[in-house]
Structure formats: structure tokens, C-alpha cells
Amino acid sequence: MAGDSEPFELPYAESASAEVLTLDLDGWEGPLDLLLTLARAQKVDLREISILQLTEQYLAFIDNARALKLELAADYLVMAAWLAYLKSCLLLPKDPEVEPSPEELALRLQLRLQRLNAMREAGARLMARDRIGRDVFERGAPEGLKLVRKAAWEASLFDLIAAYGAVRARAEVPVHLVQRRPVMTLDQAIDRVSRMVGAALDWADLESFLPHGIDGDYRRSALASSFVAALELAKQGRVALQQEQPFAPLMIRGTA
């Protein structure tokens, strides 16, 4: 009854050349799709379908395609091999050792066909709905809704006044005040060294002439000024200077 159904026959009707048949084979979305097409040709509810009959139809189809020397995609051949196995299992006496049973395999195939069929029908019903751009139309030239962002500038009166203060302060003519640094003048050093040399009779280290308990910049200033004072006093013949080697302590003694 199903053998002469339309989808099965169609390829033959148009098989003027092998190429056409190949193209028609491409029309199936895989072996499951081909099986479903054959199953639907049985014109019974998929739940009532005879898997054995379906298997025979599929195998016949593949044989015919082979006879026509058509190149069949591997998955069609895999399905054919599997169905041939299923067919033999279904025909042979039951072997309770075989798991899963051929009936279970057949049921599984039936369930898959039902699911694919359900989705194929759902797809067709979906496509038949009132679709935008085909059955219903949106506004042709919508004005569009625009959001314009506008900055709300923020500044306080204090910011304003402080900014003006900063500008004016920058513009003021700067006045530089040089801080007085602690120094011992040359006059002070001559006065001090000449007084101290007058009291001493023996050689003494120049550094011992510096005031006690001073350090830092003032000590360096006092040392420098005292050295120049010693040279000045030596020039005047009032002191004698002696140094054993470079960087050794500078010794000083009164000549009086």
C-alpha cells in the first residue's frame, strides 16, 4: 500500500539521469528524515506504525539507489545496516539474552520518528502564523525615540570665590625673603682666635678653638672662618702654623 506512495516514487519519476536522483536524495535531511517520509506514507498513526514494514521499505529504497549506482551518504548506509540487523532480530526467534531486545530497539526508533514528526509539524505551524513583514507590518517610518543627554554643570559659590582667589594669588608679584643663616664672620673669628692664642703657650689644634657644643652649618662656618683667621694672623706674624701632612690636624701657637 505504501510502496507506491508519492515521496518514495518521486525520485524514480524524475530519474532521467542519476544526477537528478542524487539531488533528490539531498532533499532529505538525513536517514531519519527519509524514514519519517516513508513512515508517513504508511498513512497510519506513527504510534501504530509497522517498524518491520518500514525497515523493508528503507532497505528497498537503498537497494534501488545502489542499483542506480548512486552515491549514498555514509549515514544512510549506516542506517541501512542497522535496520537490516533490526529486521533479522525481529524475524528470528526471541533470544532473551540479547539486550536491548529488538522490540525495545524498534520502540526507540518509533519514539524518535514521533519526535521528529512533532517538530516538523510544529515548524510548519510556526511558519503559517501571521508573520511580521509577510502578514502583518510594522510602522513604515517610525520617528524614533531619542534620549538627549544634557550636562547639568555643578559649581558652588565657594568654588567660584576660591578659584578667583587662586587666580589673583598667581598674578601677585612674588617677594623673596632670604632667611639669615647662622655664620661666624671672619672678624669674629680673628678676634676669637687671637684672644685664645694669646693665652696658650703650646701647639694646639685649630679645631680646639671652636666654641664648644656647636655642630652643623654653624660649626662648618666657624671652622672655615677660624682657618682664614689663622692664616691672617700668621701673615701678621702673630701666630705660627704647622701641619705634619695633608689633612693632618692644623696646629697653631702664638709667637709672643
Binding site: 526507540r108 512533532a118 517538530m119 515548524g123 510556526l126 502578514d135 517610525p142 525615540l145
Partner: protein, 192 residues
């Protein structure tokens, strides 16, 4: 159309007419700058019932569109939307009825590999979107439909998918393994 449209209805009407895409209640509330949008939309839709243009809700978003029975007037000036291949239609149906669904799951139902182009076409049309990954080995990408899918096919909601309730009741949206398990479980009962 007895009652005079109030300010809220007028504002909604204007916003929805001018909008370039369907709008949610939240978006409309922002645009209109007033509350009560959710309640006013069905009133506005009722005002347009039976007219040449209709206000419809699709996936929580609202838009105006021409009445379906007037398609013959408008279609002559327009090209048909791109025709989807059979693989495309089936893949879209599987995603819509099973979402979220992975590529392998789609292939299991169709019994054939899907070419990359099929999913690309559906993605490009804005009908499906990647919806994360399935937390199974390999973490495959899963797909779901978009609000644009609902709008295009005139569905208020996924529950409006044709026949989805019947398919669910018949177990036809369950995987084969699950269906087999249930059938085997039922068996002893039948034998008894």
C-alpha cells in the same frame, strides 16, 4: 471606542507609534515619565481592536502592527521575508519547543548533523540567541529563542507556540531515553 482617550493613553499611543522597536512596560514608563503604563496598555489595545492597526504584546513588549487580514493590501508592495530552509525551520522549531537546547540535542532529534550555516541564519535573523552553557561534560553552548522571535511569529509568549501543551502532555518534548524509561516502568502495570 466610546471613552475619550486620556493623557496617558495619548502619550502611550504616541510613544509606541514613534518607537523603532517593541517596548517593554519599563521602557514606556521611562519615556512617558508616568506610572500606570501596565494598566493602560490593555485599555489602549482594546481601543484598537478591530481596527486596521492593532496593539499587541509579544514577550512582554508592545508594538503596533497592521491587522493580519489586510496583508493582501500591503504585501504587493513588499518582498517576502527570506524563505527558511527545511533544516532551518525544523531547527528553529526544536529550539523554540525545547529551549534551552544544545546543538547535540537538536541533532539527536533530527537524526542528522546541523550545518553551521543553519544556526547562523537563525542567529542573524535575531530569532535565537546563545543562552549559556549546559553544565555537563564539554559544557556545550545552549540556544534559546529571543523576544524578536516571539514578535516575528506573533506569539505573546512561548506558551502560545502552536500545540505546545499537547506535545508536552504527550511526552513528545521529552528525550527518547526518558520516554523509554517511562514506558518500561509502565510495563509491569500493564502485565498485571
Amino acid at each position: 471606542m466610546s471613552d475619550e482617550p486620556d493623557d496617558l493613553l495619548r502619550a502611550l499611543e504616541a510613544a509606541l507609534f514613534a518607537a523603532e522597536a517593541p517596548m517593554s512596560v519599563a521602557e514606556l514608563t521611562t519615556v512617558i515619565g508616568s506610572e500606570g503604563v501596565a494598566g493602560a496598555l490593555p485599555r489602549l489595545a482594546a481601543l484598537y481592536a478591530g481596527r486596521g492597526i492593532e496593539l499587541v504584546e509579544r514577550g512582554g513588549r508592545w508594538h503596533f502592527q497592521t491587522a493580519a487580514d489586510l496583508a493582501h493590501i500591503l504585501r504587493r508592495t513588499r518582498e517576502e521575508p527570506r524563505k527558511l530552509s527545511r533544516a532551518g525551520i525544523e531547527t528553529l522549531a526544536i529550539i523554540a519547543y525545547h529551549e534551552p537546547v544544545s546543538r547535540a540535542e537538536i541533532e539527536a532529534i533530527r537524526g542528522v548533523q546541523i550545518s553551521k550555516g543553519t544556526l547562523d541564519v537563525l542567529l542573524e535573523a535575531g530569532w535565537i540567541r546563545p543562552a549559556g552553557r549546559r553544565e555537563v561534560p564539554g559544557r556545550p553552548l545552549i540556544y534559546a529563542t529571543t523576544p524578536g522571535f516571539l514578535s516575528h511569529f506573533g506569539l505573546g509568549d512561548r506558551r502560545d507556540l502552536p500545540g505546545i501543551a499537547d506535545l508536552k502532555a504527550a511526552g513528545l518534548l521529552d528525550p527518547v531515553d526518558l520516554a523509554m524509561e517511562q514506558l518500561i516502568m509502565e510495563k509491569p502495570e500493564e502485565d498485571a
